[in-house]
């Protein structure tokens, strides 16, 4: 009577609480795919091995049996198995196959707990683009972080009355909220090209003794980034062992003074303003003095006569300064802004730096000459690659794209629209600059090593003074770079290479140009870009006619 009537409702509630179970249903995280849909990151099921230590009779013996399967030494395992705790972890994130082998041993007191792990089939392939996830599977870097809300999905829950074994009691109430799996993110990255680019830059970094290096491959017509390689990189399957400094993406986070590669933007501004043509002559002295500053140019006494094309091919600082002075500081500043200097690329990548283009109100007498040949401004490697993509795309600036589409669990694809293109220079200006850049890879230019037989190659070397981040000063180190495109008359690809602080070798033409050649050669083949078959123009460079 007392049980039924007085305590009845209370006991019933208590009993229900005892039977009621809520299980969280983890949402499957979406994959990260390359441009062709191949997975670069995917989530698979895994198991945590748990134990009820009270049920383990001989911890040492169990440890001996588990050690070879788990790859953990028996001593460590023994310590995890011995004790009086009802619940303890023995090993985490085991593959399902490994758990099956443990299960087959039929050792009482060992249990498994479902979990999931993020797997990167390519290891270090595009690791600095993809990023990484934390212990709870949340995105912490790269695309994993930037697109975490898209990838994560929404966890569900299952609330039901279960028997002590956890099984559903039939005909009782149940509330099931299914998990919503995350969507997949499809990148513009071509994984084969990415692989080749990573190999090439890692090899050259080691050979030249550089601190780091980057390679960027862009389709100039769409802005699609086909490869974004950095060296050194890391194994995405082993983030825990990776120093934090290696986890970001240098091509976007690190800024440098571009140096001579920036001359293409300066001279494009000069031509676009009608202040000079590729055949205009400049009498360049060995040293150009501007106020208290003097800009050293070439060795040998006396003035040298160079055409504007010659200024580019020889990478003359003095000639570039003299040309830039014809349009003035305000005009140069305006063009550089339009090219994207000092402005984030719009990729939305975590940790991206905008670089620095000093505000026009802060320019002094030394600023124009310095900025004209690419010092006193800083850019990230992708920004600089996009300057050349704009010249390759007939002066029309498209924004770079790294994420092409989001694919929902039902397979519906939502392509992320590119931002509208903006005109930076006239198409005719861009064409003239490209012809001038073709002379750079001629025997008379600074980068004959970038030539690919059969193709018209246009590009520019850079050997810029390197600002040592530890002192914020120039300490003799350089950044060697080469940015180029092919075919020069109808560019289908732009490849940008930088090497930071090389110890063996110094010049962009000797260090970065061979990497450009290696990557471009593969990219042309892989993406079926045929030579145009047209002859390169021959522009006069110097008074001697070379």
């Amino acid at each position: 009577m007392d049980l039924q009537a007085v305590q009845g409702p209370e006991l019933a509630t208590a009993a229900l609480d005892q039977r009621l179970r809520t299980v969280t249903i983890q949402a499957e995280r979406g994959s990260i795919l390359d441009a062709s849909g191949q997975p670069l990151a995917l989530t698979i099921e895994a198991r945590n091995l748990t134990t009820d230590q009270r049920l383990i009779t001989d911890a040492a013996d169990v440890a001996q049996q588990l050690a070879p399967i788990l790859g953990i030494d028996a001593y460590t395992l023994g310590k995890r198995l011995k004790g009086t705790r009802a619940f303890a972890y023995v090993a985490k994130d085991l593959s399902v196959q490994t758990w099956r082998r443990v299960e087959a041993l039929r050792i009482p007191g060992l249990f498994s707990e479902k979990t999931s792990i993020r797997v990167y089939p390519g290891g270090d392939l595009a690791a600095n683009v993809i990023g990484y996830v934390g212990a709870q599977g949340q995105g912490l870097g790269g695309i994993e972080y930037a697109f975490d809300d898209v990838l994560a999905g929404r966890a569900g829950s299952d609330t039901y009355e279960g028997n002590p074994g956890g099984r559903l009691i039939p005909t009782t109430a149940r509330s099931l909220v299914q998990a919503e799996p995350g969507s997949s993110v499809r990148l513009t990255i071509d994984r084969d090209l990415q692989f080749m680019a990573q190999r090439a830059i890692a090899g050259q970094m080691a050979k030249s003794g550089s601190d780091s290096g980057t390679v960027i491959v862009v389709d100039p017509r769409t802005g699609d980034i086909l490869a974004l390689a950095t060296a050194p990189t890391f194994d995405a399957n082993n983030v825990v062992a990776t120093p934090a400094a290696l986890l970001g993406n240098r091509a976007l986070s690190d800024v440098y003074e571009p140096g001579s590669t920036s001359k293409a933007a300066t001279l494009a501004a000069v031509i676009d303003q009608g202040a000079a043509s590729p055949s205009s002559w400049f009498r360049v002295p060995p040293e150009v003095k501007r106020g208290p500053n003097s800009f050293h140019d070439h060795d040998g006494g006396g003035k040298v006569s160079l055409t504007l094309a010659g200024v580019m091919a020889r990478s003359s600082n003095g000639g570039t300064i003299m040309a830039a002075e014809r349009i003035g500081a305000r005009s140069l500043y305006g063009y550089l802004r339009k090219f994207g200097y000092g402005e984030k690329t719009g990729l939305g990548f975590p940790g991206e730096s905008a670089g620095r283009l000093p505000d026009i109100r802060q320019w002094n007498t030394a600023t124009l000459p310095t900025v004209a040949f690419g010092q006193g401004v800083s850019v990230n490697a992708v920004q600089m690659a996009m300057v050349y993509a704009t010249l390759a795309n007939d002066g029309l600036r498209v924004r770079p794209r790294l994420v092409d589409a989001v694919v929902d669990p039902q397979g519906r694809t939502r392509v992320l629209d590119p931002e509208p293109a903006t005109r930076v220079v006239r198409a005719s200006t861009a064409r003239q600059i490209r012809q001038m850049l073709e002379m750079v890879v001629s025997d008379a230019g600074t980068a004959p090593m970038a030539r690919i037989p059969g193709y018209r190659i246009a590009g520019k070397t850079g050997t810029a003074q390197y600002v040592d981040p530890s002192c914020g000063c120039y300490n003799g180190g350089v950044i060697a770079s080469f940015i180029g495109m092919a075919p020069a008359d109808q560019p289908g690809l732009v490849v940008a290479v930088t090497l930071v602080n090389p110890r063996h070798g110094r010049y962009g033409g000797e260090l970065a140009a061979p990497v450009f050649k290696k990557v471009m050669r593969y990219a042309l083949q892989a993406r079926h870009v045929a030579p145009t078959g047209t002859p390169s123009p021959h522009l006069t460079l110097t008074a001697a006619g070379t």
Binding site: I44, E45, F195
Partner: protein, 142 residues
């Protein structure tokens, strides 16, 4: 009085209402009660049995669902493992290693043949580093 007597006598002569008499209950009624009881018990038993059966089937269904769920998750696991194995084998580094083992080498300067006029675009060249091809050939011929 005579009239009264006559009156008294008359009714006896007149056809009166049929005399009611007690009739013995029909024998079959007594039999049907027993049958009814049996039927009731039978129906009751049948009902109980079917409830039991239905319950058992529901419980069995729960077990089957549970077992099938387990099987499904095992198959899912297997599919995932196989997917992962394919992705790992198809990763560029693995493909490159396999290709090298088969004696393949990387192309050098690309060249194309334009089908419309059979013109060769680019400068064709022989890919270098084909040492392993020869080794494989020797093994085959030997």
């Amino acid at each position: 009085m005579s009239t009264a007597g006559a009156l008294d006598a008359q009714p006896s002569r007149l056809p009166g209402p049929p005399r009611l008499r007690l009739v013995a209950p029909l024998a079959p009624d007594r039999v049907s009660r027993g049958v009814f009881a049996v039927i009731v018990v039978f129906v009751l038993a049948l009902g109980l049995l079917s409830i039991l059966l239905v319950n058992t089937m529901v419980a069995q269904g729960a077990f089957t669902v549970s077992a099938l769920r387990a099987e499904q998750s095992q198959l899912d696991e297997r599919a995932q493992v196989l997917h992962e194995a394919i992705s790992a084998a198809a990763a560029p580094a693995a493909l490159r290693a396999q290709a090298r083992r088969l004696g393949m080498v990387q192309g050098t300067d690309p060249a194309f043949i334009r089908v419309t006029d059979a013109r060769v675009l680019g400068t064709p060249s022989v890919a270098k580093g084909g040492r392993s091809v020869k080794a494989a050939g020797q093994r085959n011929s030997g």
